[in-house]
Amino acid sequence: MRRYFGRKLLTYTLTLFIAATIDWLIPRFMPGDPVYGLMSRMGNNSSPEAAKALSDYYYNLFGLNQPIWQQYLNFWGGLLHGDLGRSVFEHGQPVTDAIMAAVPYTLALLIPAILLSWWAGNSFGALAARRKWLDNTMLPVGYILTATPYMWLGIVLAFVFGFTLKMFPFANSYGLNLEPSFTWLFFTDLVAHWMLPFLSLFLVMFGGWAIGMRNMIIYELDADYSRYLEALGAPQRLVRKYAFRNAMLPQITGLALQLGVIVAGSLVTEIVFSYQGVGLLLFNAIKSEDYFLLQGIFLFVIVGVLAANFLVDIAYVIVDPRTRVGMRGGTA
């Protein structure tokens, strides 16, 4: 067991190091100079002498006047202290602060959407595999949902439930007339604003899981062990239970593989709803070509996806007895 996790940890650490280095490199390969961009964007109308003084100030603030190797060392030095540098566009605001302000919103969207859609999709898929009428209706709906781009479904939901039916607000993470507070009013408002972005993520993922589970169950029910159990006269419930447990394994692997895609999906969903999470922050960082903010967000996504994968690895050990047997040196 220790060797297994030791090996996994080593892989993850190495991946993180390489990913972080690439993450640091990419913005620096981007053409142009962030200070040039910043000065030009803010509609700098001062006299050239004054503009020069201002640009010197910005180079200094962002440490961009240092040699490139020094900047790389500064990056790791800062990283180990939890400092991701300063945002160029947001006036030298620490990147860590900007990301930390956005993270709760993204997690509040992602975690329920991933877990609920996974749970609901798998249960629904398993059910559909045994009910003809459900299967006939489920299958097309599932296919449509899973093929829908997050962003498009988001726009449709915003238009139908937000703009036309006025059931839910369709922009921002809480009412523009409110300030965050521990009140019932603020809480309900927060939930109302969360609803549509959550739904657009939930529905698309739900479709994918349901279809996957339905196919797996049908396959497992046809497998030799199921037929053998049936022939022995085992009750239908027991057969289905075993089929479900076996069908679950690929779905867990699928969850790990899907995480990256889901994160990307939540990014565009947040843009559609102006939801104040990491996705919208990334959108703004790209628009303003903000080196440090971009780098920080990518690093956050990398760490998040790696951590989630690690959790799935652990879950796999618990769910699949063969992995445990393998770790003890036996063969399944």
Binding site: M30, P31, G32, D33, P34, V35, Y36, G37, M39, S40, G43, N44, N45, S46, S47, P48, A50, A51, K52, L54, Y57, Y59, E90, H91, Q93, A98, P140, V141, I144, A158, F161, F163, M167, F168, P169, F170, A171, N172, S173, G175, L176, N177, E179, S181, T183, L185, T188, D189, V191, A192, M195, L199, F202, L203, I271, V272, Q276, N284, E289, D290
Partner: protein
């Protein structure tokens, strides 16, 4: 088939509703519930007392330092105030924090009388000391002001008088710009800030004299609350109690919020807004019909004068003649902009345009004539029908605009197509913004910049045509990150001499200003260092559902924008003129 589709759709709908109902039974709050009766007064802004704006802020509000050009919406104008207001639509200066400002007869000393009864939001009195202190702040490098290159000294001779002494030949035009553009800071707070921190300080919840005070800010909004102790409150109060400015996100969200009446004033550029204005959605703009928007700046085609062909004035004139700005105005913008006068001066500067002199010099779209002009200047067509350089080498000009600027991207394609029709091989490209800036700016070692052609609109509406001429003719050529003038690299000492002379002409001396402008127009139209194309608008569309009496051509003629610099160009008056719509019965 049709039936099957309906069944699928209805199932989808049922599923969605079911999911939303089970996941959250309480989510019935509407986006801007008008002040929910049970709410604590401090946590909600009643809809009827709140003005929602958007369009200025491109990222989270992160600094409220009035010296930082990147400061949050309203820091200068709503919170910090200037000595004067300048209304470009009427060409009038209105004393604001100043009670008056007068030159002595020699025009080398300017005396400012400060307004009585003005208090900082921490209740300290505003005095002449604050004004003198603010002027002298220009000596700090990080402030990035060249004020002291023409101001000799500024001293408060008593509590309400500031005497500003000028060096020889004061830059009157720049000084006048400073008077209405620069916020006055409280000495009792700012004098204790260290020089190197003067720009770093984010200054949240700062102390100003203006009609609004900082309430709160988060990543997607900036909230101001009315300062009822404001000096103008008794005579000319601002109407909204709260102003909530929303950070720009996707265009679709802003437009949706505007149509839903959740945003009152949007200063975003919306393609095709003229259709919505005419579509009966209650959205209005400054003008009821074309051009819908006021002109805010001139979009010009900037050629790189170090490149072959482009350094030839005859070639540039042919290029200008090959372009059809009317087409861009109609097909690209849907008539929300106007074609620019060839002089490049905004409509508000019409009185400075020497029409009789310019008439024979002006260029206008004519493909056939452009071809003739090219031939006359010795540019012969190659085998592909495109003209070559004078030495016979192929001529290909790349036109760059930033990626994602959809209106400019459409315009550059039209420019490229019409130039090609005349035989000039212009290729439209759209690299990312930083690349365009890097290609455009002259490197610090003063080598030639990379670009061939760009579109630029750096000069905003203001009080003087000097800004435009400084932009076109500036010398020595600026370079590096701070470059914001003379991108084309035009060197004409006569013209630069005239620009400096214009800067040193008092704003009251209209005759001299006009004469200098006329001479500059002649040089510009003869040499065509840049090619003015169209006037970008002061994009402004309003929903009239909660507030009315917004600026319009037929009503209150003031600038309808929340952008940097516009509050002190009269937009602050918009807030005093607004009227709340009585709630529907």
């Amino acid at each position: 088939m049709q039936q099957g589709k309906t069944r699928v759709l209805s199932l989808l709908a049922v599923l969605t509703i079911a999911a939303s109902a089970t996941a959250c039974g309480t989510a019935t709050t509407t986006p801007n519930a008008s002040g929910g009766a049970s709410a604590a007064p401090d946590q909600t802004y009643p809809r009827a007392e709140t003005l929602y704006t958007t369009g200025k802020q491109w990222g989270a509000p992160s600094t409220w330092n009035p010296l930082d050009p990147n400061a949050a919406m309203g820091v200068v104008g709503l919170q910090y105030e200037t000595l004067f207001l300048y209304d470009p639509l009427k060409d009038v200066y209105t004393p604001w924090l100043a009670a008056s400002g007068t030159w002595d007869t020699a025009k080398t000393t300017y005396t400012i009388k400060t307004r009585d009864g003005v208090k900082w939001s921490d209740t300290q009195a505003f005095t002449a000391d604050d004004v003198a202190f603010t002027i002298n702040l220009a000596s700090i490098k990080a402030v990035g002001s060249n004020l002291l290159s023409y101001v000799d000294s500024a001293t408060a001779s008593d509590a309400s008088t500031v005497v500003v002494k000028f060096k020889a030949n004061p830059a009157y035009q720049e000084w006048q710009q400073w008077l209405y553009n620069s916020p006055i800071l409280p000495k009792h707070i700012w004098s204790s800030k260290a020089d190197e921190n003067i720009l770093k300080d984010t200054n949240a919840n700062g102390v100003g004299t203006g009609p609004y005070m900082y309430k709160t800010a988060s990543a997607d909004r900036m909230v101001w609350v009315r300062n009822d102790a404001w000096w103008g409150a008794a005579t000319n109060p601002v109407k909204p109690k709260y102003i909530v400015d929303i950070v720009n996100g996707a265009n679709s969200v802003a437009l949706g919020q505007l149509l839903a009446g959740n945003i009152d004033l949007s200063n975003n550029y919306f393609p095709g807004i003229s259709q919505i204005v005419n579509g009966g959605y209650g959205i209005t703009t400054y003008f009821k019909s074309a051009p819908y928007m006021l002109a805010g700046n001139t979009a010009v085609l900037v050629p790189n004068l170090t490149k072959p062909a482009l350094k030839d004035a005859a070639f540039r004139k042919a290029l200008a003649t090959a372009i059809n700005p009317d087409d861009i105005v109609t097909k690209d913008y849907g008539d929300i902009v106007q074609k620019a006068d060839p002089s490049g001066l905004l409509p508000i500067f019409d009185k400075y345009i020497d029409k009789t002199q310019n008439a024979p010099l002006n260029y206008s779209f004519d493909t056939a004539k452009a071809k003739q002009m090219l031939a006359a200047a010795g540019y012969k067509a190659g085998s592909d029908g495109m003209v070559t350089n004078l030495d016979g080498s192929p001529l290909k000009l790349t036109l760059e605009v930033p990626d994602g600027w959809s209106d400019w991207m459409a315009a550059e394609n039209m420019i490229a197509a019409s130039a090609q029709a005349a035989g000039i091989n212009v290729v439209a490209t759209h690299p990312d913004f930083n690349t365009v800036v890097a290609d455009r700016n002259r490197p610090d070692d003063a080598t030639a910049p990379k670009f061939d052609l760009i579109i630029n609109n750096d000069v905003q509406v203001g009080n003087t045509p000097w800004t435009w001429y400084d932009y076109v003719f500036r010398q020595p050529l600026p370079s590096g990150a701070g470059e914001n003038r003379n991108y084309e690299g035009y060197k004409n000492d006569t013209a630069w001499g005239l620009v400096q002379q214009l800067d040193k002409t008092p704003v009251e001396d209209l005759t001299t200003m006009k004469s200098l402008c006329s001479q500059l127009q002649k040089i510009q139209l003869t040499d065509l260092p840049v090619i003015p194309l169209w006037y970008n608008g002061v994009w402004s569309q309003v929903s009239n559902s909660v507030w009315t009496n917004f600026p319009s051509d037929t009503g209150n003629q003031v600038m309808p924008a929340t952008w940097n610099g516009y509050w002190q160009m009269g937009a602050i008056n918009m807030l005093t003129q607004l009227q709340a719509v009585p709630p529907a019965k």
